[in-house]
Amino acid sequence: MGRHFRICLVRGCVAILLVGVATVAFAAGSSDPAIPNIFSPASTPADSIYHLSVFVLAICLGIFLVVFGLLVYALVKFRQRASDDGREPAQIYGSNQVELAWTVIPVLIVVVLFLATARVIHAVEDARFPTGTLEVTAVGHQFWWEFQYPQQGFVAANELHVPVSDPKSPTPTHITLLSADTDHSFWVPKLAGKTDLIPNRTNSMWIDPHETGVYLGQCAQYCGTQHAKMLLRVVVQSKDDFDRWVASQRKPVQNLDAVAHGRQVFDATACVNCHSIAGTEAKGKFGPDLTHLMSRETIAGGAALNNRENLRLWIKDPEALKPGSLMPAMQLDDKDLDAVTDYLQSLR
């Protein structure tokens, strides 16, 4: 008895554990905005997926309970007892009726699941967009994100700003996905499922966040050494805040005399081969546009907060912040390093 009892007990515990884990995870995740929980959606595509997934989970839980129940019952009921007489049990070879039952019922379940899924596929993939939809082009790079705003005529990086969308008069954002080098994948779990960015291919996705705030995500397709630190931030702003942000991004760079030396160093080193700063000699396309660098909360593809200390370290020794990143160390002396840092910090 003891041994069999143990089996049932452990199995039961495992099942309870699974349910417990799931519950805890969802409960914990939904309250904390820093956790990109797929079960606390904040945008229509993520919301449709959420509802589908609850339905699929419910069906799977039902199947699990039935089959698991049969398994435990068989183990308890048909285990060989200590008092066994040693005779073989009745030899049963099969039953066509039973086989038919456990073929037809799963087929019906699959049909139902498929129809429910097809509806959501259609709703998300074949959605039509109202006028006033914001167009953004996201370009994946090793290991950072470029965000082009073609309607507004400027380029940002790593932090995607979009306006909040009121369900009554939606202002969704339609994102065209391209890649400059290898495969990447755009994944902000609370806003939408992931879609890959593939070189030589144009993909797209859309979001319509219902609430303002910062939504976290990251690259979800292995893209090389620093795939882990290709982080994503989507900043959802009120209509007014978003317009103000757009206006600030379109402003030209101020030429401050105080940072003239830093600018000179920047223009004279290889920085300009990869980075652009509007209105200057720096026209590189390989790295992020730095015209409004200080409007971003993070640097290095989200690997570090954008403060003076990190910025200086990033220029001095990129490997220290993000080993394997494609930014080279510029070998500047301390004076030039401080000057360039000052210059970059003036780019607001």
Partner: protein
Amino acid sequence: MSNAESVLKPMTVSPAREHTRPLFDQVHDWIVTVDHKKLGLMYTLYGIVFLVIGGLEATAMRIQLAIPNNHFLSPQTFNQLFTMHGTTMVFLVGMPLLFGFANYLVPLMIGARDMAFPRLNAFSYWMSAMGGIILYFSFIGGSGLYGAGGAPDVGWFAYAPLTSPAFSPGHSTDYWIIGLLVSGVGSIGTALNVVTTVLCMRCPGMTLGRMPLFAWLNLVTSSLVLIVISPLTAAQIMLLIDRYLGGHFFDTQAGGSAVIWMHFFWIFGHPEVYVLIIPGFAFASEIIPVFSRKPIFGYAIMVAATLSIGFLSLGVWAHHMFTIGMTSYANAFFTASTMAIGVPTGIKIFNWLGTMWGGKIRLTVPMLFCIAFLFQFLIAGLTGIMLSASPFDWQLGNSYFVVAHFHYVLIGGLVFTIFAALYYWYPKVTGRMWNETLGRWHFWLFLIGFHLTFDFMHVPGVLGMPRRIYTYEAGRGWEVWNMIISVGVIFQIAGILFWVVNFVWAYFKGKPAGNDPWDAWTLEWSTSSPPPDYNFAKEPVVRSRRPLWDLKHPEDPDWKYE
């Protein structure tokens, strides 16, 4: 019947002969052997050695991920480790282990003296062995040997254009290509051999409908191998052309297509999952009936379900590509075909339950592993259904949920049945019995470790943690889960140690097992343990699916009912 009866009588081989010969002769014997049993054992040992290596690679990754912002491994090393771990487990552990069992058992189960092509068998084994050595030779480059490269770091799926010379200079990707090409030749050779053996070498009376399910399922597996290794080989040759002969198949910078590589890879890669798990089904289909003391429930349906799984598995590959921006029609098609595969898989689970139903279940170590397999494979199947709903996959794909799902299939399903099979056939292969207590320690520790690691691995996936990242920030809600996942590894390793001790101990000190320790019904239990070189002194003749049942129960033989 007289023929079959004679095979039941124990035959004596003299083990003393083996031990008195010089070591050189013994080693030489193993190297030049064309005997299916020796080759089967070599395949199995080869798989087990790489299982340990792949396990150590996984352990290193779990140490790195146990806490956020860990510096145990550099990103370069971590990327090499997950590439080598995946490649090793699929190509150097899964397939060799399963070919090992097929090699050893298929001829014995169908009453043959050897495989159809013994020399092709040896050739295939040594090709596979060479493939593994080439792949692992790449590590030597890491220690600075000029020209040797470095271990590949492109993932086991080696997506273009990461493998192009622009992103993967040097030779590391070449080792991945050549190693797998060479081992692929071996796989095709062995698959051809198994198919031919099953179709042509069955003993008198053993019609296709009387074969043990093990032989049927290995027939399906090997047929799949023949079909699906070719696209991989073709794609790898195209990649070599890209890398060295100026081709542009996958070179996106020159107008090539990254997506074409994905199609090639997954039309191999998905059926490959079934190549691995169907032999697991085969083990369960032999072991569950014996320890339930009943014949397999619905033999014909089990065969039909396996055939339809094999067939359907060729039409589901793009469910690995739900996030690449396919049209809604393509996504719907692959959702439907993937869900459809759940039906025959479900039928199999129900038939195993039907086999246990009304039986007298003996909870021996092999049966415990099979029961855990049923439980875990049920969950793996259900998470598979979740992932088949493509919108759900847009969230869960490439997250730790997927990692948990396929480890549930490959460890919770396959590795558990492999352990069941190792415990079940060990007495036949060595002639000695392992220790029951140590076996149970192995089972329970490994079970606890498995569930700690892989149950909790679903959670960070749901919380947005992608795969293949060497580290993560604190504060995303992932720390606790990753720590538990890593702690589970300790239990798994402890379980494995019990297994190693048990088997090594049993090899030298175990009690003699006799011909038929489990009171089983298939032909391999009719010959001595270990079987003689010629397997059967007289060719067996069978009249039903359970020839030994017929002999043990002449009053109530199976052939009356089949």
